[in-house]
Symmetry: C2
Subunit: 258 residues, 2 copies
Amino acid sequence: MSKKPLILVTNDDGITAPGIRALIEVMNELGEVVVVAPDSPQSGMGHAITINSTLFVEKVSVDKGEQDEYSCSGTPADCVKLAIKQILKRRPDLCVSGVNHGSNSSINVIYSGTMSAALEAGIEGIPAIGFSLLDYNWNADFEPSKPFIKTIVKNALKNGIPNGVVLNVNLPNLKEKDIKGIKVCRQAKANWEEEFDKRKNPQGRDYYWLTGKFVNLDQGEDTDEWALEHGYVSVVPVQFDLTAHHAIQNLNSWKLND
Amino acid sequence: MSKKPLILVTNDDGITAPGIRALIEVMNELGEVVVVAPDSPQSGMGHAITINSTLFVEKVSVDKGEQDEYSCSGTPADCVKLAIKQILKRRPDLCVSGVNHGSNSSINVIYSGTMSAALEAGIEGIPAIGFSLLDYNWNADFEPSKPFIKTIVKNALKNGIPNGVVLNVNLPNLKEKDIKGIKVCRQAKANWEEEFDKRKNPQGRDYYWLTGKFVNLDQGEDTDEWALEHGYVSVVPVQFDLTAHHAIQNLNSWKLND
């Protein structure tokens, strides 16, 4: 029991992002920390993996913490695969990803590189948690998040995380005294209403910028969006078995084999 | 009722891939077809979206079919967003993605650009199906798949697809007479055992190629892997609410707010 847990830390904003620095600082208080993170920002990469391409890894030192650090040319999912198969001397007891600069609540989980790293670890059977702060700024203040991150990770190390599940944690952008607590939630039903900003390039060819606004379509009070709007840290258990089991019966009534 | 359904076709192997050509041919028999697909292969992109970058779209003509076609510089998810918001004159009645050159069964759904396009349409409330053939070759034979694709799409147009669900269809690489039928399945529990092939570049720097082998960990006879191994077309209903509802009670026993 005296052996410290081995904690793998990664993210998708890149190894030098303030969000991962904050996460490493908290993890150094809880275990032996190895960081394997992308060498540049990967946001919006979804669950991409690098095939037909080469991956470079370099041992680096970014701050004065006790952790070992490796910078990788791949995606967050690549970093987790490389860490587990090549870099770490034993299987990690936990993988944490983030702290992302910006929300990964509700439908954003689908697009999230932060969560894809956590899912990758989960698929490999390693307990995993993604953390995201609701502030997109590079200079976001991660201090208020730290005690909540610590509480969640301590609980995960003590209790384990249910099989086939990883945790999607979002932190409200509030002062510590204004954060009301931690709430276990379901993913809110929401989407993005995209607008494409159509322009002409200097050669006269049309192109588009993707813009859009987030729309919460869910009135439930048990959702991550509700929790975050009301000052709570949201914890959603996320699964990578995507089967809609409730729909199987409906589909079995189709005439597929007549 | 005389109005033909509007069918949006996309993929992740690129607009000139034989797989999408086969899918377009079948769809032309069932509705009015508009193709919006990536101008180059996007495999392994997961659910990436293009932010902080520009999207180009071009009207193209690839074969002699009746469909309208647009080639797009973005990812499969981008193509769907652009099609719905910018290109199509009305909401499509169905979005089909594929036919992918290679399997997207079981855990591969997580990494799949083909399925990310279908999920994107599903999130927008449009019935959607992803199709994949278990043959990675560019010159794969899509002929045996066509009658099964047609049956599934006709059923989807007639019955609708349950809300919040898209279909992940995989087709065995067999002659038509050897395909036993269509089976509604759950996603098999499986993963990839990765190996990294470590090499040195000409400058002496280490790099890695990602390789690996697929491992089915699931003995169930109601899975997509079982169906495909036994000569069936697999249809898995896939949801984009990733909440592991069964895990919420367990997490509520944690001491998160002491």
